[in-house]
Amino acid sequence: MNYHPQIHPIDQVGVGERASRLFSRSIKKESKIRALKLALSMIDLTTLEGKDSLGKVRQLCYKASHLHDQFSNLPQVAAVCMYPNMVEVAKKALKSSSIKIAAVATAFPSGMATLEAKLNEVKSVVDAGVDEVDMVMSRGRFLQGDYSYVFDEVAKVKNTCGKAHLKVILETGELITLDNVRKASDLAMEAGADFIKTSTGKVKPAATPSVVLVMLEAIRDFYKRTGKIVGMKPAGGISTAKLAIQYLVMVRETLGQEWLTPDRFRFGASSLANDILMQIVKQSTGIYQSINYFSID
C-alpha cells in the first residue's frame, strides 16, 4: 500500500532536556526495591552472539527461571530472546514455565535479505512455537524514503506471525535523526507492531534516553489517536539497575502507570539482571555485592 508518514518534527534539545530531567529523579528505599523487582520482571534475557551454543541457551533458560535461588520472593524474567536455531532447545528447557520465548527473525541484525526469505524465517520460528518475534526494520529502504516498502514488509511479517507478538526493531543508531525515529515508530505501529524496540544491540549508539522518550511519546500519541496499545522495548547498553529505574520513571511519566507491566514494557538485556539482583541483595542486607556470587549470564 501507499504509506505517507505524518510529519511530526522533534525538538531535539527539548527532548534531551526533558529526558535528563526525568533521569534525575531519586528513587529510594521501599520504592527502589519495588522498582527493582518490577524491572526484573520486565527483562527479555537475551543472548545473540555468533558463538552461542546449545549449552549457552540452556544455561540462559535455567537462569531465567532461577535468578537467584538463595533469595525468595523474586519475580522471574518476562522472556528469553535468541536466534531462530536455538528456539527448539529453549522450548524444551522452558517446557513447564510461563516464561515467554522470543526469537529474532528477518535476517537479524542487518535485515539484508529478500522479503521471501524473511517471511520464511518468521514462519519457521512461529511454527516452532515462539511467543514473540523480534524483527528488524529495513533501515536502508527507510532512509531511501521507500516508506511503503517498509510498511508492507512489517505488515506481511505481522500477518505471518499469527498469534505471536511482533516487536519491530527500528535500529535507531542507524536512523541518524530523532525525526526519523519518530517517523519509523509511527510507521511500525501503523503497520501492526505489538512492540517497538530501539536496537539490535549490535550498533552504537543503542538505546539513548532521547530516543526512548521520542518512541514513548509516539506510542502515547498513537494510543490517543487509535486506542491501540503498543509496547516499548529499549535494548542495548542498559546494564545497570540505576539506568533501568530511570527508564521506568520515564515510562511512568510519559505513558502512565498502566504501561508499567511486562505486557507493555520490556528491557532487552543480558547483564542487567545480575546488576538488579546485586542491588536487591544490597538493599536488604546493607552489604555491597560482588558479581562472583551470582550466576553467569
Binding site: 546493607g286 552489604i287 555491597y288 555485592q289 560482588s290 558479581i291 562472583n292 556470587y293
Partner: protein
C-alpha cells in the same frame, strides 16, 4: 595596587584516574596546629567507596597481567616524580606538625620506599615460589598471585611514609586498591594522588578517599567485591569488626598494629606477600 588574592587548592578524591568531589557533597575542616592553613577535605561516603571498588575491579585485570618488570618501572617512575615534588611535600609535612629536618627525612625515606619496592616487583615471585616434592610423577609448584581488590585503611599517624609503606607492596604485587587516607593528617596522602596520576599508573589501580574512618570502615570491611583488607591501627573494636566482616566473603584481613614505618624493618618482600595468594599447580612429568 591591591594585594593579590591567593589561589587556594580544592582538595578532592582520586577515583578511577579522575579527581571527583565526594558524591555526598560533604566536607570536613582540616586545620594545622598553628592555624595558619585551613582547608576543606572531602568527607567521602560509602557511595564514593562503592564507585572506587568498581574502578579498582575494572583496573585489576590489566594491572595484574602487566609484566612484573613493567610494574617495577612504574613504581620507579613514581619515585622520580616524587623527587621532583620534594619541596611541596616538605611544606605539607611541616603543616602537619613536623620539623623541617624531620620532614626532609620523611620525604627521602618515602622516595626510597618506592625505589625499594620497584626493585622487588619482579623478584618476589622467584623468592616465594617453590617446587614441592610429591611421590607421584608430577611437577608440583606453588606460585604467588595477586589477590584482587584490596581495601586499605592507612595509618593515622604517618600520612606520607606510612601511607606509602602500606600502599606500595599492594600494587607492586599486582593488586588494585582503594585506600582511605589518615583522617587527622590527610594532606600528604591526597597530594600523592597527583604524583600517581602523572606516573603512568593506570586509572583505577590506586583510588584514594578522604573521610571519617568510623563511617567508612564498616563498608571497607564488608564489601563482597573486596578480596583483602588492610587495617592500620590499634582500636580493638575496629579490628574485631574488620575481622568479623572479612569472614563474609573470606577476605584476607591484614592488621598492622603499632608499626614504626620509619624503621628499615618496616619494608620487605613479606609485606608484598600479605596480599598475595599462593596457587599450586600439578603438572604431569614428561608432557
Amino acid at each position: 595596587m591591591s594585594k593579590r588574592l591567593g589561589i587556594r587548592k580544592t582538595y578532592k578524591l582520586y577515583i578511577n584516574g579522575k579527581f571527583p568531589r565526594t558524591e555526598s557533597g560533604r566536607y570536613y575542616k582540616w586545620t594545622d596546629e598553628k592555624k595558619t592553613a585551613i582547608m576543606n577535605m572531602c568527607r567521602g561516603s560509602r557511595k564514593d567507596f562503592r564507585n572506587a571498588v568498581v574502578a579498582a575491579r575494572k583496573a585489576f585485570e590489566g594491572w595484574s597481567s602487566r609484566t612484573a618488570y613493567n610494574r617495577g618501572q612504574i613504581l620507579y617512575r613514581i619515585g622520580e616524580m616524587l623527587e621532583g615534588h620534594r619541596d611541596q611535600f616538605i611544606g605539607e609535612l611541616i603543616l602537619q606538625g613536623l620539623t623541617k629536618r624531620a620532614a626532609e627525612k620523611e620525604i627521602t625515606q618515602t622516595i626510597d620506599r618506592f625505589i625499594y619496592y620497584a626493585g622487588w616487583a619482579d623478584k618476589y615471585q622467584q623468592v616465594f615460589s617453590r617446587v614441592n616434592p610429591v611421590s607421584m610423577p608430577y611437577f608440583n609448584f606453588t606460585v604467588p598471585e595477586a589477590t584482587g581488590v584490596v581495601a586499605v585503611c592507612a595509618p593515622e599517624e604517618s600520612s606520607l611514609l606510612g601511607f606509602v609503606s602500606v600502599l606500595v607492596p599492594v600494587i607492586a604485587g599486582g593488586n588494585t586498591c582503594v585506600i582511605l587516607a589518615s583522617q587527622s593528617r590527610p594532606l600528604c596522602s591526597i597530594s600523592c594522588a597527583e604524583i600517581l596520576h602523572s606516573s603512568d599508573v593506570p586509572a583505577g589501580v590506586v583510588n584514594i578517599l578522604t573521610g571519617l574512618r568510623t563511617e567508612l570502615l564498616e563498608h571497607f570491611s564488608s564489601h563482597m567485591d573486596v578480596n583483602s583488607m588492610i587495617y592500620c591501627g590499634e582500636n580493638l573494636q575496629e579490628i574485631k569488626m574488620v575481622e568479623e566482616n572479612a569472614a563474609l566473603n573470606v577476605k584476607r584481613a591484614v592488621i598492622y598494629k603499632n608499626e614504626a614505618w620509619s624503621k628499615k624493618t618496616s619494608q620487605g618482600p613479606y609485606y608484598i606477600l600479605e596480599t598475595q595468594e599462593m596457587k599450586t599447580t600439578w603438572h604431569p612429568v614428561g608432557v
